[in-house]
Amino acid sequence: MIRKITVLMLVVILLLPLWLMIIGSFQDINGVMKMPPDLLPKDPTLKNYTAILGSADIRWFFNSAFIVILSIVLSVGISCSAGYAMAHFDFKFKKLIWILLLSQIMIPIITLYIPRYVVIKHLGISGTIWGAVFPCVLSPMGIYLAKIYFETIPDSIMESARLDGASEIRILRSIVVPISKPIITALALFGGVGSLSNYIWQMLVLQKTARQPLLVGLMKAVNNFSDPIMRLNPLGRCMAVGSFLLFPIIIIFAFTSRYFTEGISGAIKE
């Protein structure tokens, strides 16, 4: 019983900051500064949202959508194909390739940003959405999870399919993909959310207003303290930006969380 109450307290502690942010985003300056904070807004206002969306550029929405879709497609594709190759094939230099693909996990990513910035200049994609997305889609964690998930598919099934004359592509399409929905969903969630919150790199690469995603554009707008509209209720505006960016993430997570934990836990248990 005590354990259950402690778990429930943990749940409250974990959700409280986000709840306070959402409530705060619907309040004017007096509401935000009222202590103790109301746990339900007394007279909610949309002013924070109209202020931040008033400073938003319609193109930011499209940029964000494009970045998310591109990141999901690339990161799921790379993780699944590399993970599958690692799980079910034997080839030369397997161990070396595996170490190389995972090596990134040992490097603080920000230190790679300096040379990557130079590399995308050489590749001619500096300042573009390609430059913001491509360097960030190789996910060691994703490849690792994909590999251990695919290892749970017995080789014997594939062997018998091969004996029946099925091509590798066919095996992939009609055997592997259907039973891999949990891991694909988990990887898509990783890729999508990762690209929605990859603030520093996107800020460095996408300097032009027209090319920014919502994340970069809104953060820049809300931190512009010389803007009188933002100065009226800076904390409320900040929390509105946070809640606004949180909204799509929570929606996606609520729909995929079942697959997601299945994908990860399933992979680890085997």
Binding site: V7, L112, L245, I250
Partner: protein, 280 residues
Amino acid sequence: MSNKRAAYILLIPGLVFFLLFVGWPLIEVVRLSFFKINFINDKFVGLKNYLKIFSDKTFYTALLNNVFYMVLYTAGVCIVSLSTCFLVFNLPKKWHDLTRFVVYVPVISSGVILSQTWKYIFHINGPINWIIAKLGIKPVAFFQSGVTGIPTISAILTFQIFGIYVIILLANMLSIDKQIFDAAKIDGASNGQINRFIILPLMKKQLGMMILLNVIGSFGVVETVLLLAPYEHTATVTYHIYQTAFVIGKYGYGAAQAILLFIFIIGLTLVKNRVSKEEA
């Protein structure tokens, strides 16, 4: 199509992206560290960038700060995630599902989004200071000094990241053969003894990995510092590198600092491998 060819074709996308955005940058960062970079005509300066680090006082401050971050953050994540796992381990499955979902909400929400609420929660007139005032203590400007800023940011980082480890450790704990626990219980072992003498030793490998990843992670903290406390007294090494390269524009000097950090991390990994080999 032969088996091997299929494997190589499947590996192409991963390897191409690795070569372009990890391999090439790793070579490039070494080159940059010997140059003064302005993107028009880069000047070779030899070891000058490296020598400069030794007389850079802000780098030392960041390094010292980072030692505190490393200890507080690693300890925070390990203690909180392990105790959460032990807390829910014996409960029915539905509680596991609830815990997994809830601990992952902060992880999925990301640092940028959560930093918006931390600004409010740790504000001089915010909820935490309200509670502190009720206890009769003067309000604290949490991010205005290293003494309060570093523990606060460590706590924030712990909050944001520990859910990943709860999911991984819990999955590992649940995969332990239940018969071991039954046998221990028949012999009269308490829950605490089972945790201490059976579960922990069985998860040595995962715990070692978790500590290493968190130590490395503590050197990679940039976003939270940048958004909440962009000051010298709360800077991490990577925040200092970020400032040097992208704000001041000294890419070569930033690259040299990055290389020192790589060497440090490689050393750390080797030590860890040596230790776990000796134990095994």
